[in-house]
């Protein structure tokens, strides 16, 4: 019976002794905290993005509501709440109403598996003691771990896709068709670069992945050799529909994109989901490649923040690392022009997916050679040669196919 309850309650070790009040209270507290953190972080992220882009474009940005314009998002949110909620005449009513929630809920769900803090030093495994119970500073630590994040990001397609379709209007439909093609294709590259991380750490659980990155040299960005990280970052940007991959809402071509017909609170849900997804994805990147709440440590020296105990310090490190990635996303938006649609698809299918597959093979070969005590000096050049031959064949195939298409009179 214990095993069954355990599997149903997300394998939370808190419930090992059956359903008790204190563990239940801790779990509810965690849910509340994660939800509130999500909302507040989204609010601040909107402000941060507007302010940072304003700075890059030599403007002032929001500066009226609250100190430094911090409350601008709140003011905008309140305004949106009280706007009239329009339902287009040709829309599919049920799906039109459903779609904002389908994109809002997954944005929050994925946040549940991120380790938000805790002491991962000295083999502690991120376990902290709250109210006499041992637990991790994350809402859930399911055995499928990062696969959950992948599943959630694949569900997020529905919100955008159905929003565009149910509007009963041409441009939103075009936007949503673009979105679904883009997100499904980049999910392949996302999953394949994730596979490299799983191969190196040997576990799916997010706390296990964080636990294995105890020093700077074992951070997965080093352990997997940078390439999976670059691929993950690019495909995550495409998955989020953020610039330079924001073809979903290319205003010059599609009026406003998939959310053209949305107004009031439903529009604000899409808006919230977009920024929430950005935060979640940054947190996922930090967890996978940059050690999550682990402090920076080289060899035996650890950068320790004095006067703060280790479990709280984890949260500070996590926030600092996530902020770096949020800034990188803003930077992308401010500096990169939008891709053309065929360029987007070429990048995804002809470059990122083969590159991540090839790199995965290389890592696997290296690992196998390690296990079987083969000579790395022979195995590595051999596998690189194999990959090079594959690459040449692929280029030849691309050349042949583009020549074929030209002879058939295609535009590109």
């Amino acid at each position: 019976m214990i095993a069954i309850t355990r599997s149903l309650l997300g394998i939370d070790p808190l419930f090992d002794g059956g359903l008790l009040w204190t563990p239940l209270f801790i779990v509810i507290l965690k849910v509340l905290v994660v939800f509130v953190i999500g909302l507040v972080a989204t609010m601040l992220m909107v402000w941060f993005e507007r302010k940072a882009i304003a700075g890059m474009q030599n403007r002032i940005g929001p500066n009226k509501a609250g100190p430094f314009g911090l409350l601008q998002t709140l003011a905008d949110g309140i305004k949106l709440f009280f706007k009239e909620d329009l339902l287009p005449e040709r829309s599919d009513r049920l799906v039109f109403r459903l779609a904002p929630y389908l994109s809002f809920v997954p944005a929050f769900l994925a946040f549940a598996i991120i380790p938000l803090g805790g002491d991962y030093r000295d083999g502690n495994g991120g376990v902290v003691t709250w109210f006499g119970h041992q637990t991790r500073v994350q809402l859930a630590d399911p055995p499928i771990g990062v696969l959950f994040a992948l599943a959630i990001s694949s569900i997020a397609v529905y919100g955008i896709m159905l929003a565009g379709w149910s509007s009963g209007s041409k441009y939103p439909l075009l936007g949503s068709v673009r979105a679904s093609a883009q997100m499904v294709s980049y999910e392949a590259a996302l999953g394949l670069s994730l596979a490299a991380v799983i191969l190196v750490t040997g576990t799916l659980s997010t706390s296990g992945i964080v636990g294995s990155q105890s020093s700077l040299g074992s951070w997965n960005i080093v352990a997997t050799g940078v390439i999976p990280f670059v691929i993950f970052l690019i495909s995550a940007t495409a998955e989020l529909n953020r610039p330079p991959f924001d073809l979903v809402e290319a205003e010059q071509e599609l009026v406003g994109g998939f959310n053209t017909e949305y107004s009031s609170i439903r529009f604000s849900l899409f808006f919230l989901a977009e920024f929430m997804n950005t935060i979640t994805m940054s947190a996922v990147i930090v967890t996978l490649f940059f050690g999550g709440p682990q402090p920076i440590s080289i060899g035996n020296t650890t950068l320790d923040i004095p006067l703060i105990n280790n479990s709280l310090e984890g949260s500070i490190w996590l926030i600092a690392k996530v902020l770096v990635f949020l800034y990188i996303y803003i930077w992308f938006r401010a500096s990169l022009p939008r891709f053309r649609y065929d360029q987007l698809m070429d990048l995804g299918w002809k470059f990122l997916i083969p590159a991540s597959l090839g790199w995965f093979m290389l890592l696997a070969a290296q690992r196998l050679a390690d296990n079987e005590n083969w000579d790395q000096l022979i195995v590595m050049p051999l596998s690189i040669a194999v990959i090079l031959v594959c690459f040449i064949f692929m280029q030849l195939a691309f050349r042949a196919s583009s020549k074929n298409r030209e002879s058939e009179g295609a535009a590109f």
Binding site: I4, P143, S154, V184, E187, G202, G208
Partner: protein, 183 residues
């Protein structure tokens, strides 16, 4: 607890399945299919097959139904269909006969094999071992050892299907080209 989860998941699966059959709008039917797939994923979780649940959501709900919807939207068949008219006369009675046959088959299988249903398999009971990844380890071991041939043949089949689709979908070249150099 297990019974409660099973009832909820079963209700989801059945409601979704009925929706697929009864909704006249193809998009609504596809969404009902998603509901069914989620119900099945919940059942996988309650059977401690978390990996299968995740794969179910990623592959079926996240990719296959999205492609269904994609095609429905692109082809513009997303209008409610009139179910009174039927282009193929035999189709409806044939479908009834076949589905009744399938139900009979299922019932006989369950009745015949109800003794083995009470037995508990030991394949995937891993929650007690404390090993978070026991699930995925076992699946990997059986796929890449016992069933490696079947697995590889399936992947070859998929590649053949992809290549076949690409060849069929390509535009037929003009007569002049066919006699020319390019194949």
């Amino acid at each position: 607890m297990e019974l409660f989860v099973f009832i909820c998941a079963a209700a989801m699966v059945l409601a979704g399945a009925l929706g697929v059959v009864l909704r006249s709008n193809p998009v609504h039917a596809a969404l009902s299919l998603v509901l069914t797939l989620f119900g099945i994923a919940v059942m996988f979780v309650s059977q401690q097959a978390e990996f299968l649940a995740a794969v179910q959501v990623v592959v079926y709900a996240g990719a296959i139904v999205v492609l269904f919807l994609f095609v429905i939207m692109l082809l513009g068949v997303d209008r409610a269909e009139n179910l009174e008219t039927e282009s193929l006369g035999v189709q409806r009675p044939l479908a009834i006969i076949l589905s009744l046959g399938f139900v009979a088959l299922l019932v006989t299988t369950i009745v015949q094999g109800r003794d083995s249903l009470n037995m508990r398999g030991d394949g995937l009971i891993t929650a007690d071992s404390g090993d978070h990844d026991a699930n995925i380890r076992q699946i990997a071991r059986s796929i890449f050892s016992n069933y490696v041939v079947a697995f590889e043949v399936t992947s070859v089949l998929l590649i053949v299907a992809v290549v076949g689709t690409v060849v069929l979908a390509r535009k037929r070249k003009s007569e002049k080209d066919l006699t020319g150099v390019s194949a």
